[in-house]
């Protein structure tokens, strides 16, 4: 599973710390999510998607949906 968190965050000029604060996780978790080292739980995925005003599918891309 990949995600567009870094892309969406940079497009909105939001820092990792601001995003982490908004979704109530540590900055290290955001870093790990962006690097693909950690997969978010459904709850966190929902919070992040809601923060960006998008659906989970818009932010988190499952392997078969990932463009080649």
């Amino acid at each position: 599973m990949t995600n567009r968190i870094a892309e969406l965050r940079k497009a909105r000029r939001i820092s990792q710390a601001e995003l982490a604060d908004a979704v109530e996780v540590t900055r290290q978790t955001i870093i790990s999510l962006e690097n693909g080292r950690y997969n978010a739980s459904l709850l966190l995925a929902h919070k992040i998607a809601q923060y960006f005003g998008l659906t989970i599918e818009d932010v988190f891309l499952f392997e078969e949906d990932t463009p080649c």
Binding site: A20, D21, E24, V25, T26, Q28, T29, S32, Y38, A40, S41, L43, L44, H46, K47, Q50
Partner: protein
């Protein structure tokens, strides 16, 4: 509903209050240790090591209990500090790390203890039975936790 569950603040307040009770109980243990050291130990014929244990353990437990009580009270009266502490404690990645580390440590300890049983048997039967008891408690607590979690989740 989902977002309501996401907000841990109310539960965290309960957690902090419960922690205060636990640290209060811990403080009571430390004070009982001091009382024993000052009133019971002088009349006993305990060795210096045992006397040192009473003083050391009572001091350590009391200091730790007071420290954590003060910290918890501080968190309860400072919303921003409480929020930061809550985020750090409920961070799902951190919880996964702690869970994974605990799982590894448990498994490693179990294997190390099983290995040690072979070494201990010819050396000390008491130590062998003590370690065997620890392994039995570990196995039983694992089965109990497994059953409880299977019903809960």
């Amino acid at each position: 509903m989902l977002m309501k569950n996401v907000t841990f603040s109310k539960d965290y307040d309960k957690t902090l209050k419960l922690r205060c009770l636990w640290f209060g109980a811990m403080l009571a243990i430390g004070l009982v240790g001091f009382a024993c050291y000052f009133f019971l130990v002088p009349q006993s014929n305990l060795g210096d090591h045992a006397k040192g244990f009473y003083l050391g353990a009572a001091s350590g437990i009391t200091v730790a209990a007071v420290f954590f009580l003060v910290r918890t009270q501080y968190l309860m009266s400072h919303p921003e500090a409480k929020r930061k502490a809550r985020i750090e404690e409920t961070d799902e990645r951190q919880q996964k790390i702690v869970g994974g580390a605990a799982q590894f440590a448990g498994l490693f300890t179990f294997y190390a203890a099983a290995l040690a049983l072979f070494v201990l048997l010819p050396l000390s039967l008491h130590a062998y039975y003590a370690l065997l008891g620890v392994l039995a408690v570990y196995a039983l607590s694992f089965v109990a936790a497994n059953l409880w979690l299977s019903k809960k989740l």
